[in-house]
């Protein structure tokens, strides 16, 4: 019996060993190196292997670094909320209003922009939002505005670029949740006298919250760590934390400060995960 149990244990470990080794080699070890490096310092153009919290203290002491974190949080929360507001109706229309045989096509159309390179998509938005871009030319052409709107190289441009990407992601997670429900919940609520709004508010929304939360968490994680969209669309008119991290690496060769800022960014993501997981557990309970 013992031999069989041991064999099972060995078998189990051998199944998870590749994943475990991969995670240790490419996540745990690099993360440990980054954590250690965040305690070092760059002095006089050289990295000195001291043990100090100076890089973390500097983060709270330098207003432009702290502001980068606040900018990142503001943009990420805004993007997540707008994406949910746009993705939910889209997912609902696909799940509830589009005939089943067309749903696959509708989903493909919804995620079609995923097929374009992320960088190319961001530059395309820059052209669309520019002073001479499609939006301004159209608004000027039909006489709604006299002067071009300042859309490109602003936070608005960054948010638009992000929302375009994350609406697709959230649509998928919410749609997956909606199709699992089936029509009976809605019918039962209607039989009990609920109107359309009440069905949505008291039945559909609570039941699809897990899908929304999972999509929102993914949006939060991907958005707060993204460098490309704010760099291309923001015009360097404000810096988000990933941009500041890149400045430390690219311009200053200050890897210790970059490591400390990355650890802080990761702490925010971890906090978001803990809150999300805790909420999902409470929901299940």
């Amino acid at each position: 019996m013992m031999d069989a149990a041991r064999r099972e244990t060995v078998k189990g470990w051998s199944f998870i060993a590749p994943t475990l080794l991969w995670t240790v080699a490419f996540f745990v070890v690099p993360f440990a190196i980054m954590a250690v490096m965040s305690l070092w310092k760059r002095i006089g153009g050289k990295i000195v292997q001291t043990w100090s919290l100076d890089n973390y203290v500097a983060f709270f002491g330098k207003s432009h670094l702290l502001k980068a974190m606040l900018n990142s949080l503001e943009v990420t929360v805004l993007v997540t909320l707008i994406s949910i507001l746009l993705a939910y109706p889209l997912a609902w229309i696909i799940a509830e209003r589009v005939p089943q045989r067309w749903q696959r096509l509708a989903l493909i159309l919804a995620i079609l922009p995923f097929w374009t390179s992320y960088v190319v998509r961001s530059y395309a938005w820059l052209l669309v939002l520019a002073r001479n871009g499609v939006i301004n030319q159209a608004l000027l052409g039909i006489g709604i505005i006299d002067e071009p709107l300042e859309l490109a190289s602003t936070r608005t441009a960054t948010v638009i670029g992000f929302v375009h990407f994350f609406v697709m992601l959230l649509t998928l997670t919410i749609y997956a949740n909606l199709v699992q429900l089936g029509p009976n919940y809605r019918r039962a609520a209607a039989d009990l006298g609920a109107n359309g709004l009440q069905v949505f508010w008291y039945v559909l929304l609570p039941l699809t919250l897990p899908g929304i939360m999972v999509g929102a968490f993914l949006t939060f994680v991907l958005c707060i760590g993204d460098y490309i969209t704010p760099q291309i669309l923001g015009g360097n008119n404000e810096l988000l934390l990933p941009q500041v991290i890149m400045l430390q690496i690219g311009r200053r060769a200050d890897l210790p400060t970059a490591a400390a800022l990355s650890i802080l960014l990761m702490a925010v993501v971890t906090l978001a995960y803990v809150l999300c997981a805790r909420w999902l557990r409470l929901e299940r309970a």
Partner: protein
Amino acid sequence: MKDRKPNNIVKRGLRASALALLAGGLMSTMASAADELNALVWCDHTDPGLIKPFEDKHGVKINLKDYEGTGTALSLIEQSQPGDWDVFVVDGIDVPRVVDAGILAPLPADKLPTGDLFPELVMAENHTRDGKVYAISEKFGYNTISYNKEKVDPADMNDMSVIWSDKYKGRIAVYDYYLPVMGMVQMGLGKKTAGLNAGDLGAIKDKLFKMKSVSKLVGDVVASQTAIATGEVDILVGGGEWVTAALTEENPALDWTIPEQGGVRWSQSIGVFADSKKKDLALKFVQYILSPEGQARLATSSCYWAMPANSKAGSHLTDKQKAALRWSEQKAYLARAQLYPAPSTELDAKMQDVWTEFLQQ
């Protein structure tokens, strides 16, 4: 008998194939390593029109990695292994600190065309240490003001203070490189770029913040060129012939000037890495870039145009190209321009802090 068993034949075959593949792989790696040169450069060197003639002549492959700003280059070098790089193109003003860091190898002075350079570009104090030459100027130009003459009053561009005035609010882009732009602000404040010190940073910061409040965007080479070329902005702070020369054919309205206070002169230097294992080939590449033909190609390369350091390159440029580069006006321009600020490591860190604050405004 044993060897004739099918299983063993298969095994032997596989073993032989694996060895052949391994040997072939190693040989091809060694061959490619011997025929390749790795160069860390500004983007103007990535033009095939510049590189291909050298590759064809010597039967080698040049692997190019382009960067912007010496800090970026030093960061890349720090993250590389000794011997990874062979040729280094770096801001002329930064050559001393690169030499201090032991990055560059001495070059044979008698094999370089130093005598053919414009005298201001020899920059012996930057390129020479203890009688040894470590780099040589290859290209130069000005970080000053580029503008669309149909959209702004060209007379306004003669005063540096236009870059922080409200007159063109929202129509200004700033080139995202702290050294030339802070040098321009220092000149706008009536001071010399060479004397820039920590005490000047307060006044520079005030003007930078004012500049940010009237500017539309801060962008790298491509972003700032695109902004002025597409009409997104009408003025580019930090621009110059490197922005407009290649664009004037498509858009003749684009122009540049050096204000009364002067402009910041930039120059690129080229050298060979001390750890390079192919110093001879690297030196040949340096010689090619410094040759009149190479210089003409470099001056008009696709990423940005600018003046060649070698005065003999003129015979390989067309009149139109020389006009775009303002070849005949260089004497006056050189007299009015000042070099980039050359901060110590400590001052450089403080300047970068100010620049980050400027970006964050």
